[in-house]
């Protein structure tokens, strides 16, 4: 294990040497991230936040930073992850590095920046310097610290005040096959100024030849007052991949952020969402769907921090598990002493398609204010036999009946996604994965 950490240190040093043109504060983020990671080490199942999720396969793995992957990916590789419809811009990252040749900077409203961090870091804007690594706190999060240690590329999106970006911005992170398992630590920073609006889709996917690679992504979102963000994370990693992703957001007064998280692939997956409602009247929607089959493990941890009064949050997470899959859902809602008139609602449901599938689910409410409305509900169930019989009695095969019911279960989450072409693309991907899912 120590030897493994040493190998991360060596890789990080190599990065530092490569990025001499970055300002000193960026080098400091990397150095402090590395130190922090070194002190924390990988989490173990003794850590409450990781009780059911052993990251041993990651901790014991040897991952190398990929060679610049831009040359190894072609436009054809992107097709499975794209959907029909207008796009404001598409930024493609191959093995964590920006691939300009297959990206499309698009036509953006005046003043809007959508660019690679690798390009932005050497000459940072005020917003980039003010917010990078400020929302994501790696003090106790080893993977976030590790991401900071390798902070070299990813995306920077800045929408200035009173600007609306109508079409979605697509950030596509693709891993391709290499001789040795690779790792990528992409960072995304989204800054929405007052009264601005945007839709951002982050897709994580693996090429056909990719095997056993490790993605450790960190996203930071900062909004100004009245800003509206629709954020989608679509995790379609290769089934052998390791994926750890942390979404950190801070919403200002009357801002609203929707985080749609669709988690379809990966052998070992951990998604964290940490939302701070940091101004009066701020709101967030956490809308999650995850699938797991075979022996895969998907862990979703969410935290909504109601830090100010009159904030609202709506959370629904649904999981579909088959085979010997395991899943974890931990939904924490914190209501600070000043956060009166908080209105929080959390629902999580899991559909188990086999006897062997397992889910650990835990709502965690920490309420320190007295005039609040907080509800939560959890339900774990199996397929409704009477509903299957009803559908069969009308002529649908048993297989079709099961599909219809699974899609209906997922529909609760998918139908909350306003971006219809993406929703249809995900629905098609869901159907494509279902044939393997006979209980």
């Amino acid at each position: 294990m120590l030897a493994v950490i040493d190998s991360y240190l060596a890789e990080a040093e190599r990065i530092g040497a490569e990025r001499r043109r970055d300002p000193a504060w960026v080098a400091r983020i990397r150095r402090e991230g590395l130190e922090r990671f070194h002190a924390l080490g990988f989490p173990t199942t003794r850590d409450e936040e990781w009780r059911f999720t052993s990251v041993a396969p990651i901790a014991e793995g040897r991952f190398a930073l990929a060679e610049d992957g831009a040359l190894s990916a072609r436009r054809d590789d992107l097709a499975p992850f794209e959907w029909r419809g207008d796009l404001a811009a598409t930024l493609v990252f191959v093995n964590g590095r920006y691939a300009e040749a297959i990206s499309n900077a698009g036509r953006l409203p005046r003043g809007v920046r959508v660019e690679s961090l690798a390009a932005a870091l050497p000459r940072p804007t005020t917003e980039l310097e003010a917010h990078l690594n400020r929302v994501a706190i790696g003090d106790r999060q080893a993977f976030t610290a590790l991401n900071a240690a390798f902070l070299v590329d990813g995306a920077f999106v800045h929408v200035p005040a009173s600007t609306i970006v109508e079409a979605p911005i697509h950030l596509l992170f693709l891993s391709t096959g290499e001789a040795q398992p690779t790792m990528a630590h992409p960072r995304v920073l989204v800054v929405l100024d007052t009264n601005s609006q945007a839709t951002i889709v982050e897709t994580y996917g693996g090429g056909a030849g990719a095997h056993g690679y490790f993605t450790n992504a960190v996203t930071e979102v900062v909004t100004g007052e009245n800003a509206i963000l629709n954020h989608y994370k679509v995790q379609r990693e290769n089934p052998s991949a390791f994926h750890v992703g942390a979404m950190n957001l801070r919403a200002a007064k009357n801002a609203h952020v929707a985080c749609h998280s669709i988690s379809l692939g990966g052998a070992l997956v951990r998604n964290d969402v940490m939302a701070v409602l940091d101004g009066e009247g701020a709101g967030c929607t956490l809308n999650g769907l995850y699938l797991s089959d075979g022996t895969r493990l998907v862990d979703n941890h969410t935290t909504i921090d109601h830090a100010q009064p009159h904030c609202g949050s709506r959370e629904i997470y649904k999981g579909i598990l088959a085979g010997r899959a395991r899943a974890v859902f931990n939904g924490k809602i914190v209501v600070r002493p000043d956060a009166q008139k908080t209105d929080a609602k959390q629902t999580n449901k899991a559909l188990l398609l086999s006897e062997e599938a397992q889910i650990h689910t835990k709502p965690q409410l920490e309420i320190f204010a007295n005039d609040v409305k907080c509800t939560h509900g959890a339900a774990i169930g199996q397929m409704d036999d009477e509903a299957i019989f009803y559908l069969r009695s009308r002529g649908l095969s048993e297989h079709e009946a099961r599909h219809v019911l699974i899609r209906a279960f997922a529909g609760d989450v998918l139908n909350q996604m306003p971006l219809e072409p993406l929703r249809l693309c995900i629905d098609a991907e869901l159907v494509r994965r279902l044939p393997e899912w006979r209980a």
């Binding site: 036999d385 002529g395 649908l396």
Partner: protein, 254 residues
């Protein structure tokens, strides 16, 4: 000679650890409407559900032939595709499955099985609108999830509406009248009556004679304790209404 649509011979069925049907014989020909009446627990709903292929029952003896074929060898969807339809006593709520989408899928599964072309959305809606009018069903019902949040009456009407769209050869109505007020009952009965045809057989399962005022059967059977104890014309229903089931349980012992 023409096969009866349904021929049940010496049918014995177990469910929930006990014998529920204890030797049923029943023959329904084309164009005929039969009613099965009986007290609670007599096994009449079990008969309906076994005919539809519900997996929770075990047939321990006897046979069922449908249009001359071995019905018990078919899975529920094959029965449906061959034109057997059961209106459920308790229609199942299926959140998230759109009523129109579901019914179009069902109809096209049947059409495909018969070697007919599948209907597109336009033709399907034309058909559906005509049938909805017949059953006084509001079009908004089509855009809701299957049975979700429907009132008792809406659920039963939706079953008959499905029947009107799927046009079965054998329709089994399992206590379709229960829980309906008189206005809803009349609408449902009207829907069923317009479906009567020389090509179609129907089996009405009911506890009360009331339904039979509106849908007049050709034959009435009385089921008690898993056996048909008496069969007769439509007058039998009136006699039952007057004398109660106790009278026939006595007859059954003769």
């Amino acid at each position: 000679m023409d096969n009866p649509v349904l021929l049940v011979e010496n049918l014995h069925v177990r469910g929930g650890g006990r014998e529920i049907l204890r030797g049923i014989d029943l023959s329904i020909g084309r164009g005929e409407v039969h009613a099965i009446m009986g007290p609670n627990g007599s096994g009449k709903s079990t008969l309906a559900r076994v005919l539809a292929g519900h997996p929770e029952y075990e047939v321990t003896a006897g046979s069922v032939h449908y249009k001359g074929q071995d019905l018990l060898a078919m899975d529920p969807e094959t029965r449906a595709r061959e034109g057997l339809f059961m209106a459920f006593q308790y229609p199942v709520e299926i959140p998230g499955v759109n009523n129109a989408y579901f019914l179009k899928g069902a109809l096209n599964a049947l059409r495909k099985h018969r070697g007919e072309e599948e209907l597109d959305a336009m033709d399907f809606m034309t058909l559906v609108r005509e049938r909805m009018k017949r059953l006084d069903i509001d079009e908004s019902l089509m855009n809701r999830s299957v049975n979700e949040g429907f009132s008792g009456g809406e659920k039963k009407r939706n079953e008959i509406f499905q029947m009107a769209v799927l046009e079965p050869t054998l329709a089994i109505l399992d206590e379709t009248d229960s829980g309906l007020d008189i206005d809803a009952l009349k609408i449902v009965a009207h829907g069923v009556n317009t479906m009567r045809s020389p090509e179609r057989a129907m089996l009405l399962v009911t506890h009360y004679q009331r339904l039979l005022n509106y849908i007049v059967p050709d034959v009435v059977h009385v089921l008690t304790d898993g056996r048909i104890v008496r069969s007769g014309g439509k007058e039998l229903a009136l006699e039952l209404e007057e004398k109660g089931y106790g009278w026939l349980e006595h007859v059954g012992c003769d």
